[in-house]
């Protein structure tokens, strides 16, 4: 809706005013040489004329046109660690420029440095592995009045994974920006390869030309946002994501069990226990080759005297049978002009995909060791199983700018703790994680 942008710079002249000012400048610039011309007909020498012209040029150079664009830049250093022995350090930078005529250009770049020795990796007798992911994005938007369009692109690169995407958006304000419609479409193409041997990821990678799996993703987005009252904003948006391709992980081997054993496998069964009772074969993960995902998200923000409440609720379901609800709340309190503090809470609850099993059963109806009857779809991805995650944390912002514009420089810190309960899984029944971030933002 961009109410903020327009309200934060209320003194910005509108386009007709700019045109008028520009016309006046042009007219003045044309008149001044004419005056010089006139005076040359009286008693000014050629040298004096040149000096006068030079002085005028100097005066013009000293008063250039005002740069009305707003530039902003930020950098963040984030760290993540969890009880499943996964650590991620993520430095990132972003920068952008907003032109007074409604144009904007933004770019971002981040690096994920991942170190992992999770139960899934240990269960395949693999060593701790480290990996670096780089991701960047570039986007632009032009919205001179109540209608705007935007385009953008993104790329993400890991040793065994490459993703790139493009998107376009459209936004239209109605009724003096009391409500706004927005639409968007994005397309991305992912290529997954393989590094290392059968034991898991490693330093040597197979070229994509030798082995790779492609995933194409089309995302449709439509939403409406509106002014509820003088202190409240609300929005509803829907997302439809259509994925085509094989998303199965090439490192994920699925233990199989006989029917009699599978029924008695406890939640969070240890690696040693699973290895002692599983069948000899351990096939690779296999997921369906198509997925349709739908999400409906509602947001509400209310400004009190001295604080801001932000609420979000997302309903999600897909044709893999996964249904989820995510609730997020953040209450930001102003602590004078220089500080803001907020508590943050989030709850995510989901059921499992229709083909999710804690212990997959492999039958051997003919008694022949070479004719195992494997389930068509099988996975060890815990995010496809039933789980709930609760998250709580806080954030703090320190406005370091000058007295007139304290928010022109901002130093921020946020920390969140997450607890996830896996309700029907092997190896792990819960996970505790911590995420912290330090940010520095500037606007000028």
């Amino acid at each position: 809706m961009q109410l903020t942008a327009s309200a934060r710079r209320p003194s910005r002249p509108c386009l007709p005013s700019l045109v008028a000012v520009a016309a006046l400048l042009v007219a003045t610039a044309e008149v001044q040489p004419a005056r010089g011309s006139d005076s040359s007909d009286t008693d000014q020498t050629s040298t004096a004329r040149e000096e006068g012209s030079a002085n005028r040029k100097k005066a013009e150079d000293k008063s250039p046109l005002e740069d009305t664009a707003t530039k902003h830049a930020s950098m963040e250093l984030a760290g993540y660690s969890d009880s499943d022995h996964v650590t991620v350090v993520t430095p990132s930078i972003a920068a952008g420029i907003d032109n007074v005529s409604g144009g904007s250009l933004n770019a971002s770049y981040l690096v994920d440095i991942v170190s992992a020795a999770s139960a899934d990796i240990v269960s395949t007798a693999s060593r701790r592995w480290e990996e670096v992911r780089q991701a960047g994005s570039l986007s632009g938007q032009y919205k001179p009045h109540d209608f705007g369009v935007g385009v953008g692109s993104s790329v993400s690169r890991e040793p065994d994974y490459l993703s790139y995407g493009v998107y376009a958006t459209m936004v239209k304000d109605f009724d003096e920006k009391n409500w706004t419609l927005n639409f968007g479409y994005g397309f991305s193409h992912d290529t997954a390869g393989r590094c290392g041997g059968e034991g898991g990821p490693g330093p040597s990678c197979t070229p994509f030309s030798v082995f790779s799996r492609d995933l194409q993703r089309g995302s449709f987005n439509a939403g409406i946002s509106w002014v509820v009252d003088r202190a409240s904003l609300a929005s509803v948006s829907s997302d439809l994501v259509i994925e085509n391709g094989d998303q199965s992980k090439v490192y994920r081997y699925i233990p199989m069990f006989s029917p009699s054993v599978a029924a008695g496998i406890p939640n969070g069964a240890s690696i040693d226990y699973v290895n002692s009772v599983r069948l000899p074969e351990r096939p690779l993960e296999q997921l369906p080759l198509e997925r349709h995902r739908f999400a409906l998200t509602g947001r509400y923000a209310h400004r009190y005297d001295g604080s801001t409440l932000r609420l979000e609720e997302r309903f999600y379901d897909d044709d893999w049978g996964l249904v989820a609800s995510t609730t997020d709340a953040r209450w930001i309190f102003d602590l004078g002009k220089r500080f803001a503090f907020w508590p943050h809470a989030r709850l995510h609850v989901q059921g499992g995909a229709s083909f999710w099993e804690k212990a997959y059963v492999s039958n051997n109806p003919n008694g022949d060791a070479n004719t195992w009857d494997l389930p068509l779809y099988r996975t060890g991805d815990r995010e496809l199983g039933p789980l709930w995650t609760t998250e709580g944390g806080m954030g703090l912002k320190w406005y370091l700018g000058k007295e007139a514009e304290p928010r022109s420089w901002q130093l921020g810190f946020s920390g969140d703790a997450m607890y996830t309960a896996y309700l029907d899984d092997l190896y792990v029944s819960s996970r505790t994680a911590f995420l912290g971030a330090l940010t520095l933002e500037a606007e000028w």
Partner: protein, 85 residues
């Protein structure tokens, strides 16, 4: 109307579009009755920086949530895929 997906093929209960349409209609209807016209000069509170439509979570936090949760949506179209989980 039902998605012609895999869930029915693997014995699961596929979500129907009907439920989604109902959700959407209910929320849009709510939106229609819940708003009043607010003139630009009355939007002092709405102009507060914390009332921005942007997500306050940074890129790292957004990425962690995308990996931890089996759901998607509600974010930006600019997020690229990754082989993270």
């Amino acid at each position: 109307m039902r998605f012609g997906g895999v869930a029915s093929g693997v014995g699961g209960s596929a979500p129907t579009m009907d439920a989604r349409i109902v959700w959407t209609c209910m929320l849009v209807a709510l939106a229609g009755v819940a708003c009043t016209h607010v003139a630009p000069y009355e939007r002092g509170k709405l102009a507060h920086p914390m009332m921005t439509a942007d997500d306050l979570a940074g890129p790292a936090a957004a990425h962690v949530l995308a990996v931890h949760e089996g759901a998607t949506g509600g974010g930006s179209l600019s997020e690229s895929g990754c082989g993270c989980n």
